[in-house]
């Protein structure tokens, strides 16, 4: 019997722009509300300074990164730590498809920003079973 797998979710939480806050909010929405049983939230800073628990969680589970800007820091840092990024999400890409949801406010997101975060979380949630199936299949290959 195969071990039940979960997905590690790593947002960038960039502090300079509202898009960084959207990445954080989307991760919370996914991990706390939409798919709590299938996901685990991993703090990016812990991962980078070599925290063993964080590194173990991203190396043994497929990772989904959520980045607030084109520099894609979360994705880069997760790859650098030796993990497999199953899906990298760019907040800006999703925003281009939801131009009416312009996020504002870094400390406290406005309502369109929260809605954008919910849209991102829903998109990731929709593809999560596929990621889990693919990676579980990979284990047996």
């Amino acid at each position: 019997m195969s071990e039940r797998r979960i997905v590690s979710v790593i947002p960038c939480s960039g502090i300079g722009k509202a898009f960084g806050t959207v990445s954080r909010e989307a991760a919370y929405e996914l991990c706390e509300n939409l798919r709590p049983a299938d996901t685990t939230l991993v703090a990016l800073s812990k991962l980078v300074v070599g925290d063993q628990d964080a590194q173990s969680r991203v190396r043994t589970n497929p990772a989904v990164t959520i980045d607030g800007c084109k520099l894609m820091c979360a994705s880069k840092l997760v790859k650098h730590s030796g993990a497999t990024v199953a899906r990298e999400v760019s907040v800006l890409d999703v925003f281009r498809r939801h131009k009416d949801l312009k996020p504002e406010g870094i400390a406290e997101l406005n309502e369109p920003g929260k809605e954008l975060a919910r849209a991102i979380a829903a998109e990731i949630s929709g593809g999560l079973d596929e990621i889990l199936a693919e990676t579980t299949g990979g284990q047996h290959a």
């Binding site: 960039g14 502090i15 300079g16 703090a43 990016l44 800073s45 300074v49 820091c73």
Partner: protein, 155 residues
């Protein structure tokens, strides 16, 4: 006299997503930046800094920095030291809260009352540290290397 760049203090918050004290670091750093010490501080984006943002790393090498960590892992302080230099000062929210008998900080997405109190305490501590740092005489060494051009990624 040559024009010297204005001296500012860089605030580097861990923004740890897993714990409520990580959210405290983020909110306190933003409060210092936008409200109580606006114009005297910049925030440095920790992920960009760690991912190799040269502008941010250069800023932290030549300007005073304060790191704000949520827990004893001290990721922001350790990351700063690894990639730039020892921070001028550092704050750990869990220690500060314990010293002030603030208990049961919770709500990483929406802070509870204790979390809000911790934001106030951390903001006050940061504010005092910024004032102390800016009041100290600037040494010649950092001034030589400060680039007055805008620092990419530092806000």
């Amino acid at each position: 006299m040559p024009d010297l760049p204005e001296r500012k203090v860089g605030i580097i918050a861990c923004s740890g997503e897993e714990l409520a004290v990580g959210t405290v670091t983020r909110l306190a750093a933003l409060k210092v930046l936008h409200e109580v010490r606006a114009g005297k501080t910049v925030t440095i984006c920790l992920p960009l800094f760690l991912a190799g943002g040269e502008g941010d790393r250069a800023f932290a090498r030549f300007h005073p920095t304060i790191t704000v960590d949520g827990c004893e892992l001290r990721c922001a302080a350790r990351g700063t030291e690894m990639y730039s230099g020892k921070p001028t000062a550092s704050v750990v929210v869990s220690e500060l809260a314990a010293q002030n008998s603030v208990e049961h900080i919770d709500g990483r997405r929406r802070l509870n009352e204790a979390g809000q109190k911790a934001v106030e305490l951390t903001t006050e501590r940061l504010m005092n540290l910024v004032d102390q740092i800016l009041a100290t005489k600037q040494t010649a060494k950092p001034l030589i290397s400060i680039t007055p051009a805008p620092v990419k990624g530092a806000r």
